[in-house]
Symmetry: D2
Subunit: 305 residues, 4 copies
């Protein structure tokens, strides 16, 4: 298996030349554009990895998955889906307010910024700090890694340049989607995007979801069955911005990407996979990561269709 | 099983009161709004049915699945996806041209009208009649029913009132997405929408897809493996208009609806399901049919997530 | 003349029953929906009035005209139009960010909220208080009334409920259209909307513009000729939200409306007119005021076309 | 005066290098991109011209003004404005269906293609030929030139490549905005766009409008006063596609442009002006023509504001 992963990484590293590292957050622009790494965590707790698997990166939008899980556990699906929709958007990842909302101003889904900010405000906690703590504790538990923490420089950079997210949050407040202090909610949101991880962490999180919400290493249920199912469905239809449909066709497993260059993929009842490659395509997805997953899915016949 | 189906139909028939039969095509308005029926065809060729399973109805947008299959077989995925995208649309089913296209004027996906008209023009055949024959032959083969034919009155009605589809087709021609005589392509498209079927026919078609493209009754491959996989992925992300995301969350299997009131669902490696209920919700999906599938999916644990 | 004005007010008061007082700012909802008044100030300094001409109301979007004048005087047309466009918008008055901007994220014109917030930030002054003082001083000068002041309750109400404007302002900051502290600029903007006036004040302002930028009472130039011309052109094409075109057809003079119920009309080289009627139509324009101006324009042949 | 015109043409000819001749209709691509000419017809019947004033060109969208005049005369303003709006659009000239319509699917205004096609269908006549004859007779009368005729090659080229207009027309038919045979209406529309004229013809037409609808040469009313006023108002707000607002600011007189390179300007109570310059800017307006009118308006103080 590790031989296979090594070959696939080598085959696709050339693609990193065709993408660009995210630059709208200055701190992200410092990432190594040539990096490409993969980690697999299967349900028998075997681990396989290749390439730049040791690279640390910020989790960015992959955190939206765990925020959604926490919001669903804390408030229930009725409450969450009264504030956020479940429909994919055909708009680019940087589209703004109007395009991210529809009737009744509900964000289209939990994986666009507007939806994730709304979910952050739904997570249990009296203030932004408590909400952040709630989600990062879940990240640590799912990743089986108590040492995960925020990259402070990225957090500062996000906060300093996050005016479009501020615009979204105030719009949501004006539409009664979020109710509390906007800066407090945003502070939690920016911290969650800035959590620093490795592909091993993310593959472990994915393995919990692939295992139905139960940790493969200790057989403990940490995500309720129904929540786990909902999250996978939304990953399938909305996980890769406006390339989610193409990803379903080409790779065919529930996934979520982040502008830090990570893609997390869940192969139900088989394994969790994480790739990282900071060079992004026009949709904001890791260009090398997508190619790696495409070849891997084909060779291992991973598509659920 | 038939007991279960009967119970589920009875439980949900009340929902038909909350929907409306499609009326933009006058002939469709004649359907019985109270009807609700289901048919299951499993991969051991067992059949189960309940409710108004004998009702005949026109296939409408469910035909887009078979048209896509034929286009992919006849022209290959590169050619098809150079003319039609694979991304879900958040727009309502009756949205028009601009909202159904993006960069390079490509229709967003094969299951909106613009995309299906483009796929119709890609199917093999020197003219509209040959293209229609190509697709209806595939419908008969997949449904294992050589007697399937067009409902002439619906076809006439579609053709007479199809000016929005004409607008779409001329727009596609202006954008070089389709190249031939617009009326000729539309004539094939209108006929394909007007094919008359029962839930048994549609469930049989779904069973072929659920079986990987191979007929469960004669073990014959009629859809290539890769095509079968692509079609299921697009059904999952785009099959129920702007309620596709919600459907993935609540039912969780690749499906396609039509304004005739049918929903076809594919449970991979298990069974094909078809429901019919002409009363539609605001998204244009069978309101009773969705509820029946929701209860069935929960009770039989059908979701692929 | 006063006889004519009285008749026109009487003829059209019935229309106030068909509109609704603005309610999104709670304090505005307290206005008298039946009020209807008019004041004319001609270039020989004759004044005519009828109806509820004594009603005090907040100037709301009519202040955008004076803000634009100040921005053009203080920064010059090149600087202003590098940040704000001059094109009418077909979107409703409450449309939000995306619909109010185009390429390079420039607000479409100075009379939508996004454009007026950008103009407020362009006005001279080191902070929001100085910018506010700059514009209200111009309002007092043009209205020939040193006693004009802010309605404190409306200002508080605007500030408390202004989250959509906050969203717009942060979006503009993210797009580098405005550069300073968002809350500081918004504070000036909310105060400017809350300036309390009567139709006499507004008709006097309009008379200055009608007189080419020169006060009819003291023959003093207070608006440069070119600025005066630009402002009238934009009032003509963008002054009544998405009913600007209809207004040009039916009344035919440069005008600007506000959700407080005022419409200010400039009849070049003839007179300034102000009407007030807090009951608004769907576009956000005074329903009675529009009808009064329509009859007046027809009877006095005021259209410039 | 002719000296002035010559100087202005010379000053601005350089701008033609920065534009591009319309190419979506192949026959239009043959125009000379360097041409730049002007003709003025004042209300004392003096004529002044300079530059390439002898160039023949097709009238294109300038015909929309005369079509609107005929529709208003033949059906009355209520009937016309029940089918077509009067609001400017911020969308580019080649925007399509959805963006050209709003509630109830009414085209936004009579000067976008959708609105002009609707107006063509409203003109008196039992069929496309009679409607065409109705409008071209008005063109000849207003231009005081009985020899005006259609450029057959351009007409053929428009008809052959007019699929986007076909899309618009079928969409309007589907929305019950037009009722008759689509190809028949389009045939009249394509012919009207293909009428061949010179700047002398267009300046003469403009002079009739500038004179309140009365021919300056024979003192004959050919456009009713109210129709004349409506048409000027719509030219002011919608005449130059999505640059109408900028044109109002910079030139300040009711105008209409066409992709053949002509701009017709009406200076009320003073003169009619026509410029031609086939090199267009990004909005589809003559790039040299706009600059010529800008300088002329400044030097002669033509703005109505």
């Amino acid at each position: 298996m590790e031989e296979l992963l090594k070959t696939i990484i080598d085959n696709n590293r050339i693609w990193t030349k065709h993408g660009k590292v995210a630059s709208y957050i200055p701190e992200l622009a410092k990432a190594n554009p040539d990096a490409l790494g993969i980690h697999i965590f299967d349900l028998e707790c075997n681990e396989f990895y290749a390439g730049d698997y040791e690279t640390a990166f910020t989790i960015q939008s992959v955190s939206k998955v765990i925020t959604l899980i926490c919001a669903l556990i804390d408030k229930g699906k009725e409450a969450v889906f009264s504030k956020v929709g479940t429909e994919p958007s055909a708009d680019p990842f940087n589209s703004i307010i109007k395009l991210e909302t529809r009737n009744s101003h509900k964000p289209l889904n939990p994986f666009i910024n507007a939806g994730a900010i709304a979910c952050t405000s739904l997570v249990s906690g009296d203030n932004g700090i408590e909400k952040f703590e709630r989600v990062i504790e879940m990240v640590k538990k799912m990743a089986n890694n108590p040492n995960i923490q925020v990259n402070f420089n990225v957090y500062q950079s996000e906060k300093l340049t996050g005016n479009t997210n501020r615009a979204i949050a105030y719009y949501l407040k004006g539409a009664n989607i979020i109710e509390r202090d906007v800066e407090d909610v945003l502070d939690a949101y920016f911290k969650l995007c800035s959590i620093e991880v490795t592909v091993k962490d993310v593959a472990t999180i994915a393995a919990v979801i692939a295992n139905g919400g139960i940790t493969p290493w200790s057989n403990e249920r940490i995500v309720p069955k129904e929540v786990n199912q909902i999250v996978q469905a939304i990953m399938m239809t909305c996980g890769l911005y406006d390339a989610s449909g193409e990803f379903a066709v080409k790779i065919g497993v529930p996934s979520k990407s982040g502008v830090g260059g990570c893609i997390m993929s869940v192969v139900p009842k088989k394994m969790g996979i994480a790739v990282v490659g900071p060079a992004l395509d026009e949709s904001g997805n890791s260009i090398g990561g997508k190619k790696v997953l495409e070849e891997l899915s084909e060779k291992l016949n991973l598509s659920i269709f």
